[in-house]
Amino acid sequence: MSNVIQTAVIAVLIENEAGALGRVVGLFSGRGYNIESLTVSVVDPSEKISRITIVTSGTPMVIAQIKAQLARIIPVHGVTDLTASGPYVAREMALVKVISTGDARTEGMRIADAFRARIVDTTAGSFVFEMTGAPEKIDAFVDLMRPLGLAEVSRTGVAAIARGLETFHSNQESF
């Protein structure tokens, strides 16, 4: 195993109960693990199970620790490491507010178009763009908007899922 820091996208299925998310977040802060992003939402029709997607980074030893520690949390049903188990899709949604007029405004619209960002709100002096994509694509978009009157960004964090026939259950880590 190497000492190279790598990024991992980890999915966790957890009981939808009071304090469950706190246990996950507390694990990361208490043990000094990195959280680059964390998203959570209920995913089953009975509203009993939530799926958490965590983007984290560390050496392979630390990533292995993170997964083993997550699996120890009592309400956790399962853990998969999307980065380790094959190709996956990772998407994030961002709302980006740009306040500008004149050339900057036109340039902003042009770039938004190239990035396939949608305009979800507009006034004479402002736009709110909605864009979905890989986090790097959103980073690039936001960077380009910076000189064009970027005023505010709201991002959801990454949601991710395996490609093809693989599912959470087929990729689940066993401990």
Binding site: A18, G19, M61, A64, A71, R72, I74
Partner: protein, 597 residues
């Protein structure tokens, strides 16, 4: 459940939450609760008053309740149970919970909470107990509905004792204790799909381990508290495996007693205050088999220099412990007792000749790294190591089953080095958290569990003051606990570090204004004794052991004694300090080492 019990608890209609709680505790085999009352748990105390099955031990501080429950658990293999009130009762228990978490001790702590309708309103004696104890427990619960109570309590016991054991807290709002609650049959109303830890190690991993054992010329078993957790059969299996393989055995602080410390194959404890032979064997072995031990920093010293040339095998039930600190070559995930039995089954008694390895070990052993100088003139000052040795020899002479607890500090290390343990579950110490004040309440818990045994707290004068109020509990229940204080009038362990690392600037480590422990014992209805010189020591120990009530023995020992051997923080095992002559070596401690604890 015995029939008297089921008689008493036959009628299950019209039970309130408190009664449901107690019935489930009885169903779980609980005989003793360590606790302290208060407003939020009055309904539970009322239900306790009206039953005759569970014994309640009233401690004098909630922290002590948890330590007592820990020792009860460690010395019996059962789950220890604690009952405390909301707010300050719960916050006082936190240190004990973290202690149990660090040392893998199964404890269920029930805390009262303000009524559900008041939660979040800064109500009187409200604390966010589940928030505070989340990182202090293996799991915790807030019972919001009476219907959840019985399933939660049942699950709490399963979580506490299952896999790697640990503390579980149940926060019980007062309205839930008061209101009627159902008592479903066990198995109904399950809450979580508890992950069942893997108990049997992978067969291929067993095969690889046995192959490594056959090849090894310098093997070593590094055993730990997990063997105690696994149960007495695991200790038995370890003895057999050691005998069959002729491999040397070392142990962590937490594992002492799993293998007889008086056995020829035992090298003593390893780590910061371990023996020369144990540490050099760890450094020089070609095969290191960790059995229920977790590569703690007190054990590894500098990690990149830890056992540098060995093939490493790690047997542990908790996958999060494997490859946490030290990368291993083979992981034996499972219950260590079963793992040892699997190794025994696969071992063909065809290992290498270990003659050279044992000759090397015996040469290290000949150095006698635990040696000390005791002037035997009657008025000579008592060396603390000598006091522990005499205590051991004389306790052994009584032929009684003996349980030893400790506080934290030099005395703890001297107890680990000089008292001998031939059976598991007899050694009760705070290893992971290192909680001063653990020992006296732990002695309470052990004595409650084993009323006829000899129970001794080997203490330091500073630590013992942290839970000295438990002399009241000891008096109330007439527990014949022996508090054996190695009184050096210093926070000796702190003083030692200040001497070695901070230019002998003894900042705040002198035990100023100590009480007269003899009179203190008397104030708590016990017997006090004091030994001030070698000539008095045996007599005090003999009288202490012969007395059938509680005794506080104030053993005035050398003030300036340091605990050796010692691996300074940040140093590798082969750079240990062996004694005072080596103190000049302390200059070797690196800047990074200074920053370590």
């Amino acid at each position: 459940m015995n029939s008297a019990v089921s008689q008493e608890f036959r009628n299950t209609d019209a039970l309130n939450g408190a009664e449901v709680l107690l019935r489930v505790l009885v169903e779980q085999g609980v005989e003793v609760i360590f606790g302290y009352p208060g407003g939020a748990v009055l309904p539970i105390y009322d239900a306790l008053f009206r039953q005759g099955t569970i014994r309640h031990i009233l401690v004098r501080h909630e922290q002590a309740a948890v330590h007592a429950a820990e020792a009860y658990a460690r010395s019996t293999g059962k789950v220890g149970v604690v009952l405390v009130t909301s707010g300050p009762g719960a916050t006082n228990a936190v240190t004990g919970l973290v202690d149990a978490l660090m040392d893998s001790i199964p404890v269920v702590c029930i805390s009262g909470q303000v009524p559900t309708a008041l939660i979040g309103n800064d109500a009187f004696q409200e604390a966010d107990t589940t928030g505070i104890t989340r990182p202090a427990t293996k799991h915790n619960y807030l019972v919001k509905h009476g219907a959840d109570l019985a399933p939660i309590v049942r699950e709490a016991f399963e979580v506490a004792r299952g896999g790697r054991p640990g503390p579980v807290l149940i926060d019980l709002p007062k309205d839930v204790s008061v209101a009627r609650a159902p008592l479903p049959e066990p198995g109904n109303g399950r809450l979580h799909r508890l992950y069942s830890p893997r108990l049997d190690a992978d067969r291929e991993a067993i095969r690889q381990t046995v192959a490594a054992m056959k090849r090894a010329k310098r093997p070593l078993f590094y055993t730990g508290g997990g063997i105690i957790n696994s149960g007495p059969e695991a200790s038995q299996a370890l003895r057999e495996l050691a005998r069959r393989t002729n491999f040397p055995v070392t142990s962590t602080l937490m594992g002492l007693g799993a293998f007889p410390t008086t056995d020829r194959q035992f090298l003593g404890m390893l780590g910061m205050h371990g023996t020369y032979e144990a540490n050099l064997a760890t450094h020089g072995c070609d095969l290191l088999i960790a059995l229920g031990s977790r590569f703690d920093d007190r054990v590894t010293g500098r990690v990149d220099a830890f056992s540098p040339n060995s093939f490493k095998v790690h047997a542990d039930i908790d996958p999060s412990q494997i490859n946490k600190i030290v990368r291993v070559d083979v992981a034996l995930q499972g219950d260590v007792g079963r793992t040892i039995r699997a190794l025994l089954a696969a071992w063909d008694d065809d290992g290498q000749d270990l003659g050279e390895w044992w000759a090397q070990i015996d040469a290290w052993r000949a150095l006698d790294s635990l040696g000390f100088q005791q002037d035997m003139k009657p008025d000579a000052i008592i060396r603390p190591q000598y006091a522990v040795r005499r205590l051991y020899e004389m306790a052994l002479g009584t032929g009684r089953d003996t349980y030893v607890s400790t506080e934290v500090g030099q005395h703890q290390m001297w107890a680990a080095q000089h008292f001998q343990f031939d059976k598991p579950n007899r050694w009760l110490t705070s290893g992971g958290l290192g909680t001063m004040g653990y020992g006296l309440p732990a002695a309470v818990g052990a004595q409650v569990a084993h009323p006829d045994a000899l129970v001794i707290d080997i203490a330091g004068e500073a630590s013992t003051l942290m839970n000295i109020q438990e002399l009241g509990t000891i008096a109330q229940y007439r527990l014949p606990v022996k508090l054996f204080i190695l009184n050096n009038r210093y926070m000796g362990m702190v003083r030692q570090w200040q001497e070695l690392l901070h230019g002998s600037r003894y900042s705040q480590s002198y035990s100023e204004a100590l009480p007269d422990f003899v009179r203190l014992a008397e104030a708590f209805h016990g017997t006090g004794m004091r030994a001030t010189c070698v000539g008095e020591l045996d007599d005090v120990i003999a009288r202490m052991l012969a007395h059938d009530g509680p005794v506080v023995a104030d053993i005035c020992v050398a003030q300036d004694e340091n605990c050796y051997p010692m691996i300074p923080s940040g140093a590798p095992h082969n750079e240990m300090l062996l004694g005072p002559d080596a103190e000049a070596n302390a200059a070797k401690v690196t800047q990074e080492g200074m920053a370590l604890v």
